[in-house]
Symmetry: D2
Subunit: 369 residues, 4 copies
């Protein structure tokens, strides 16, 4: 099946392997008339770039984006926007037994089981570099949403046992700390924890959170295309994510109904909720409160300890992974989460315009040429 | 947007409101040649029927299914299978202020925000009765999967603070206890807890789990159509579900990589995993181990205590919900989870047949007439 | 594959066999707030009903439609609209060798080749009764389009060698002549021709045309989702249609560019075309002129002469078809064409609302709650 | 709406403008294990390249294709295949009044009506260069089909009044004549006709035909996804195509049923048809005979005579188009037709593998690991 596209109205199709010639994305359905420059996109790609910090791989990846189509004289034209990043640092080298071995926790075995063949260089299509296309497209979605008054902000919520403390929430820290935590104290603790894990040739997991503010009520669809259902898919489709929560999530399942229900009240003629256990969505449709989602990420499967596994010929072998691997995936995945949430929300908003007869009548009353 | 269909190859389209004339589903893409009778489907519908037990609503819903098309002389023909359940117990009665009030925790407000109109009788389309179409279609998917050697089994994992104990796992209890727990001791404790909640005019949440056994490795797609991503969507699309986990889920995010990675080994010439933290999926593709998913359900939002809310005219009001409502949703949602998992897995399996050139060559070599 | 749905935003899923229990359609994505009654739909179904005239089968088909969901207090709610027509006149009778024989010009053999099984009663799913769902959904689409100032009108253009004469165009005749021709003189000639064909136990083909007026410029998409490409699919999907033309169609291919190009001019500040060779579409997008499409229909394959064919056991046999069959399909297919064109145009109009940033900004500026 | 993709299983997404940086296509869903080299694709792109002959534009377009992903060590891996052609001959030059004028017969006005903005250089997205992505993807589809024993062959059938004569059919001439006609005598006549049209600063239309041999019976779906319905869409989506016929097409509508019905007979234990008026499809499903489709192309709208038109400011102007334009589109569109037919047929074949229970049972019986 063709599984490399996402979104109905703002549809992205990503392509590319870790060590192939290039990676990229085609955005089909971007509204015409948006100001768009390569810098708008580069800023997001730079957030997923391995930094100078202790916790990310020192591999130098420039990841410069090129706009190949869909933009004319600085504006989108409504035609597909093709974005490409050339792979620069890949070079032919010896992959040793990685060509044949199935790394535990990786997709090597399952790709072989499905396709009978795989590009083993750097994980091929299952590499984290696959997210370059998502982030590039997410940058465009975020720009559109901002123009509509909607802000999408993701950050690291926990790394191993270290969680952020809401009372110390510092938005500026998200882009300036190595962990992407909005809490400088937690950042320090997490770095210490990561240093320890690294010294033990091990890796750790964590959680990230995304909040969408400014979203009007009424966005999303009932039944299968619920806004939260699509968010769950979008987030679980990010490699290494193993759980998704909306609003109170698992916590809601332990509450009594009298505590979980958010009372409505009126403020300035507008329907408001006194609490937000629901995380901004009721019955699959946005309720006007901030949308809140969390994604839980497993530890990096590439660890430097020797591991037992098998190869594709059916031999049991001991594998020692070499190279450079982040001990935690979360900080670089934060911008991927932001991208996927933005695309999901924008897609739902674009689909909403034809939900009522009066919308259609108003629109074609105005735009009848 | 049209959001009432699910699945690409085995596609279901559900329709119907709680108190409308009928509810149903059209299954498009069911393979031809399957033996199918109404009893096959009725058995699943009966599992979501309110029982005689203390915890479910005494409302008598027969929910008899009728096969309207797609089956000829007891076999599916490859054409759409239309299944319908007439609503029998709905009657015109006074809905009091429910027609205008927004019940907290319900979709009343968001439907109005989106559509400007809603069928307020019994929750309309946002009622739990919406799942009748899902369950009817799920029965067909389960029957096909069984024929392929695959078993899908869901059950209640926890209700409020009461969780099942794996050491007491009793599969027979799933269909015979009021809670759908595979643990008779936990069932007793949960019933006591529910009785207490009911006496306080309150409601509770819980968790359900689904295990798929017999699934071969290689099912699912990388990137956006990952098997676990589609499971997350399928489960989060069930009303009241607020979190989804695959395998160790949130637990995985707290493990070290050396613990979370499942070592591969060989057994009888077959690749096996020594543990199953992954929950049966790696890189979005099944790995041959049992598929394990969990869904967390919020407490029933309909509680009998007076609640503060607003009406559609912008007045703040106090609402007292009457009628019959289960104090917990989980036991009746278990079969819905089973249905959604079965449809998702079958759909991925159907899409897998054209993933390799050698499959196509073999198939058309054999079936060239 | 699941091939029984059509449309992206206004999506219809049809189901049912000629001699099954019922036939129907689910409309998913109908805007909320449309006044809708069963009579609105019945009026269209009655147009495909066999009439009292000499040319259509005397079989009594009531084809009464029932709205099962999606309408509340006379208005659509945005949830799926399920429409059903019970089969009343089917009865168990002897199908003779039709159960095993492959009728020439019919889909008997190809259904068996694909599915290995088929409902042979009255053609099963390949019967003309399959169009009941299309027509019922088309009635809803037409009602919406009328509300937007758009008229869709189909009629018979030719039957055998008899074509309508534009100078005698009489719109009222479409609904009142047995041939659905907008030309009473041509109707008379065509009836005479049909009578002759019938006396020779033979059947004839013909052509139908559909004109859409009031459609603004800018509707449709470039490349694969061109408005004319979707019309071509919609029309070719009607059983027995073998050719589709847009505007001058084949005639355009014989013209010089200097004759085929439609000059633009201004009228009352509006861009107009001096001619309409294009048939209202340029580059896949509506150009503000009337949309003009034609569909060519093969002769009814059920004829009463003995025919040579084979059965499913591989025997060569002589087949004599009995029963009641119209000697021409066109007059009853006209309303099917109208339905398919209406659904296609409405779907494109619904998709157009998010094509520009300024549309999104205006909409969410207005509808931000 | 996102309208730049085509196909469900073998899905292509094309992008790029005539004078942008590059054009390309992403193929999502190509089966793994196909040998694929750039030369396989280049051979098809060279067929749409303007040749040295008198009838095509002398503009030098190298159109060299680059495989950016999805192929590893010479074989497809099942991941998306990204193909790109850099635009080399575009240069910044003066477009004169083309930036503001609406060329008659072109999509300039309709793009502006839809998007409010357009890339006017060389027609932007509505240029014939848009088909580069289609042809590149079609080359891959053709290679797969050949491996399955299926041949797709398109050719020019007529140019202006000059039609090929079946008795002179010469397959080798298709690739070696400037007109792509399989008839060297007709080629000569057509060239003379074109020379005359060119001398009158005018252009002409024509027709092309495609025949698919080796296709087994049973491919395609009933109702909306009929094989012929998808062919009609595929062909009508090619710029300048105004009509599509299947089999006898319009001719069928003038036949009596007794002539149009193709009798079945047996040959070597196989069901055969004595004639092929149906063009290889019955009820939307292939019948085992050659698939025959025709597409009719309007004359090139770019002609060198002065034409009346308007500009985007609402002024009536006289336009004289300059530059280099083929006087007929057909010969270069033949390979585009071949590509679209191949993709459509392959897509239907891939979808066919899950149509029966016995197919699923056989497959998973064999491939259960």
């Amino acid at each position: 099946m063709a599984g490399n596209y996402y979104g109905e109205h703002f549809r992205i199709t990503t392509w590319g392997e870790s060590h192939g010639k290039a990676l990229g994305v085609v955005i089909d359905g971007c509204p015409a008339g948006l100001d768009l420059k390569e810098e708008d996109i580069q800023a997001y790609l730079d957030r997923r770039k391995p930094g100078a910090s202790a916790i990310s791989t020192p591999r130098k990846e420039e990841d410069l984006v090129e706009i190949l189509s869909g933009v004319f004289e600085g504006k989108t034209t409504g035609t597909p926007i093709s974005l490409m990043v050339r792979n620069t640092s890949q070079r032919s080298h010896d992959y040793g037994n990685l060509a044949d071995c199935y790394r535990p926790g990786h997709a090597d075995y399952t790709y072989d089981a499905k396709y009978g063949i795989r590009d083993y260089r750097g994980g091929g299509r299952s590499s984290g570099r696959e997210t370059i296309g998502r982030v590039a497209a997410g940058a465009v979605a975020c720009k559109i949403l901002k123009r509509l008054g909607i802000e999408v902000q993701a950050y690291t919520r926990s790394i191993g046992p270290v969680s952020i403390d809401g009372s110390r929430f510092d938005k500026d820290a998200i882009l300036s700390t190595p962990t992407a935590m909005p809490d400088r104290e937690a950042d320090r603790q997490a770095l210490a924890y990561l240093s320890q894990a690294r010294s033990m040739q091990d890796s750790v997991g964590g959680a990230m959170e995304c909040v969408v503010t400014g979203l009007p009520a009424g966005i999303g669809d009932p039944v299968f295309e619920k806004l939260d259902a699509n968010l769950a898919k979008a987030l679980m489709s990010i490699g290494a994510v193993k759980a998704v929560e909306i609003g109170d999530g698992i916590g809601a399942s332990a509450l009594a109904g009298s505590k979980d229900n958010d009372p409505f009240y009126m403020k300035d003629g507008k329907v408001m909720k006194a609490t937000n256990h629901s995380g901004g969505v009721l019955g699959g449709i946005s309720d006007g409160s901030p949308l809140v989602a969390r994604a839980y990420v497993k530890p990096t499967p590439s660890i430097f300890r020797p591991q037992k596994t098998v190869d594709r010929f059916g031999n049991e072998v001991e594998l020692t992974i070499q190279g450079r691997h982040d001990p935690v995936i979360v900080p670089r995945a934060v911008v991927v989460m932001e991208a996927m949430v933005a695309i999901t929300v924008l897609d739902a908003m674009m689909g909403n315009l034809s939900s009522r007869m009066d919308y259609l009548i108003d629109f074609y009353g105005q735009h009848k040429e």
